[in-house]
């Protein structure tokens, strides 16, 4: 009996201690955990590692200036290694095990599509900083990168204009996955609407990690003989390096056949000799070479962070559009948490909408109810030093159209996230409308 009593007492006090601790722990001094879900190895590491670094820099900046409503942010970094199923596993781990309040991550659309069911099932929150193909609008994702009407369509319009070279034929070259395939579908419909025939459009895909572009560059040259051609490249990852090398070595100049890329920025050019590539183009909403006070401060902060943490590459490290989008996204989330007074996903979700932020691109960006940012469009040409000189840009930020008007059936899609709320609720309550 004595032993039993003793055990009962111990159990009671342990439970008491544990409950008090956890009650106290939920108080305001505990750090907020956030997840960083970017490939740090594999074919996408060339692009995604910088996003992890700039996220850590932003978190450090916020922590140094008082944190989020007085609480520090604690980053939890995982490496899904350019492996798409692993992205989903790591996302689940971050949300259910590490109990993060928000995840900043993903680059390729296939990685985002892999984690989307996880975020919707567990009601997590993802900030996705990269330009993509649209055709998606989730209540659990905030898209701080460009939709096709904020990048791809203006770029093609520029190429067709007199200023851009007056291209009549288009060579659509991409990596073989959802983003290039969908973007090319949209672009083909757009080109048809401008009177370009199918015989003047050529679509070619290469697998991830492909590094032999001899045949394709030859094909481009041949295609260009029948009329002024422009190449629209949606190649992702380190395949860009051998592609541009081959372009340079085979003497395909930008004045003959300009190549506009949607996934190549200052970071991807860092590993290539850019002298033969002068004049080739990229379309983004931000370039490192922009001259405005906010960008100067951003670049200075980044340079200081790189040297303080001895990051590989040293003073050769650059800033680019997805890094700026990551920076903006983290700040907007912080502002939303402070407005909502809590890190609860449902409260933060509504508080993010309408947030504004003065971004390094020189414009004030606003989060629209469709969960996308209003962004300016800029076209840049490669310079010999690996930077871009802006040759064209919009005067004001443009609202995103995630459901592209060039894909049939999109007319009936919802215009903002609030419009898709109800069916989801019905679904999750098991009251789905029959026939679906």
């Amino acid at each position: 009996m004595k032993r039993n009593q003793f055990l009962h007492a111990t159990l009671f006090f342990c439970t008491l201690a544990f409950t008090t601790h956890s009650l106290l722990a939920q108080n305001s001094s505990e750090p907020i955990k956030v997840g960083i879900l970017h490939s740090l190895s594999g074919t996408m590491a060339i692009s995604e590692t910088s996003l992890k670094d700039v996220a850590l820099m932003t978190i450090e900046e916020i922590n140094n200036s008082g944190g989020v409503a007085g609480r520090k942010i604690e980053p939890i970094i995982v490496d899904p290694a350019s492996n798409w199923p692993l992205f989903a596993e790591k996302a689940r781990q971050l949300i259910s095990q590490d109990k993060v309040a928000v995840v900043f991550g993903c680059w390729t659309s296939v990685s985002r599509k892999s984690v989307l069911p996880v975020f919707e099932e567990l009601n997590g929150l993802l900030f996705y900083p990269v330009q993509y193909e649209g055709e998606e609008m989730s209540r659990n994702v905030f898209y701080t990168g460009a939709a096709p009407n904020q990048q791809a369509i203006p770029a093609v319009e520029y190429l067709m204009s007199k200023e851009g070279g007056g291209a009549k034929r288009f060579f659509l070259l991409g990596t073989d996955y959802v983003y290039p395939r969908t973007t090319n579908k949209i672009l083909r419909a757009f080109l048809h609407s401008k009177g370009v025939q199918d015989s003047d459009i050529n679509e070619i895909y290469t697998p991830f990690g492909h590094n032999d572009y001899q045949t394709i560059v030859n094909d481009i040259k041949k295609f260009a003989q029948a009329g002024k051609t422009a190449v629209i490249s949606t190649i992702n990852g380190d395949s860009n390096v051998p592609f541009y090398k081959e372009l340079g070595n085979q003497g395909l100049k930008a004045t003959d056949v300009p190549v506009v890329a949607f996934s190549v920025g200052e970071e991807e050019l860092r590993g290539i000799d850019t002298k033969p590539l002068v004049g080739h183009l990229a379309a983004w909403n931000y370039f490192m070479s922009l001259k405005n006070p906010k960008n100067e401060a951003f670049k200075k902060e980044w340079a200081a962070y790189v040297s303080a943490h001895n990051l590989p590459g040293g003073d050769k490290r650059v800033t680019n559009d997805p890094m700026e989008a990551t920076y903006v996204g983290i700040h907007m989330w912080k502002q939303a948490v402070e407005k909502a007074g809590s890190t609860d996903v449902d409260k933060v979700r509504t508080a993010v909408i309408g947030q504004t932020f003065k971004a390094p691109c020189g414009f004030t960006l606003e989060m629209d109810p469709n969960h996308h940012l209003h962004k300016p469009v800029m076209i840049g040409e490669v310079r010999p030093d690996g930077q871009f000189s802006v040759v064209w840009k919009t005067k004001e930020p443009i609202r995103a159209q995630p459901w592209s008007p060039f894909i049939p059936g999109n007319e009936s899609k919802p215009d903002k996230v609030a419009d898709i709320l109800l069916p989801n609720l019905l679904d999750s309550a098991g009251l789905a409308v029959s026939g679906r």
């Binding site: 594999g42 060339i46 895909y205 001899q214 003989q225 390096v241 340079g248 000799d273 033969p276």
Partner: protein
Amino acid sequence: MDRWFLRLLAASFWLAAGGSALAIAPEQIKPLAEDDFDARAQALEQIVTAGDEVAKRILEALRDERLYANKDGQILIQDGESYHDALTGALVESKTDDLQSIELNNVLREKVATGLAGLQLTAPDRSVRAQAIQTLLSSGDSILKPLIEKARSSESDPALRAELDQLWASTALRDPDPQRRKEAIGVIEQRHDPQLRLVLAPLLGKQSDGTFTESDAGVRKRIEQALASLEREEGEIQFVGTLFAGVSLGSILLLAALGLAITYGLIGVINMAHGEFLMIGAYATYCVQNLFITYWPGAFDWYLLAAVPVSFLAAAIVGLILERSVIRLLYGRPLETLLATFGVSLILIEAVRTKFGAQNVQVSNPRWMSGGITVLPELILPFNRIVIIGFALVVVLITWLVIQRTRLGLYIRAVTQNRRMAACVGIRTWQIDCYAFAFGAGIAGLGGCALSQVSNVGPDLGQSYIIDSFMAVVLGGVGQLIGTIVGALGLGILSKLIEPFWGAVLAKIAILVLIVLFIQKRPQGLFALKGRSVEV
């Protein structure tokens, strides 16, 4: 090219040739610093129209990105440290921060290049004239008739004269006389440049009122003939290009597969860590490159010569350790060796990832490996691939010499043919295993050194080549060098032949299917050793 602009250019040179030069006014060049594209294009045209020394200086400064505008809108040319007014040449005191660089886009850059070339057609220096003609030729359509006629009549050098004839031909396509037009088409055809289809094809097109752009039926027929022959040549050039690409890919596969053929043929174990020998060779090259950058930056262009033996030794040493520690202990148990070497490959990948980082490392091509040879106007063969093909041939030659002419090679051949008999006659088979494995690994290291010049260098480098290496070895048969050579080159050429029709992904699938079918019929590969006994 903008026809209106070129007509203006032509007219301007007429005037220039006549001796009167139009001076440029400051407000004419002011728009260069502004944003409006049409105003900038017009400003450029006016500069070229003037055609005098001042214009030339401005165009050269634009080309070299030495043109700036200060806060008052004055246009300045940078000469080293100082800035001069573009029109008067007077020195202007300026701070770099106050100046805005005048940048061009593709279209304007082309205008500047063509404008300068037009001005340089009558330069005293031959090489400058040759360069100017090349620029005008490659910019496609051009109607600088009077200037070209003038240059053509005064040109003394026969080679340049022939080039000028070409230029003249493209301008003469609009000549009122049909005979001259036919002559021009003939001259164009002589150039054998499929790019010129761009020039000829539009002439067969129809205008908005239904009539052909080219009114004379006889001339149209001539155009069709020329187009047909250019297309034929195009096909030939494409074929040569594809063949070269296939040989280039094959040479890389060869370097990867050669080492595997030796180790697989000799010991009969499937070494899953073979791709990692390639990776080690590539990283050894990276380390040598870094050494050169730190200690001998002036000799950077020659770092490859040092990298070749280093990558051989690095991979050979790792191969030696692997053979001694893992493979020897599992002699006679192929399944366990396969698993063990797979494990070793993972260890090697993680070791490299820990030491060098998970991302790709940058290995730059030395200067002499960048660019390419222009064999034909449309066929440029990159230097780096030519060097690698040459390198692969040298490696094959050395391997052949070692295998056929040295004692070690003799022993290797003996042990490959009949291990037990070779042991009976006194050959230390365990020692031969050691040397041969190290030699095979070293060759893979050389392959990695070559790969670092054309491909990304990362910890996963070997993974993408291991499958291809085994395919080449299985296809070619084991025991003879010729098998691997034919297997690797054949695979390379075949996949490049399929690629233009089916794309890269399907080409790979097609190759795998073909190999599977081939192995059904002939499991021992193309060149199997006769009388090879089955061991184990």
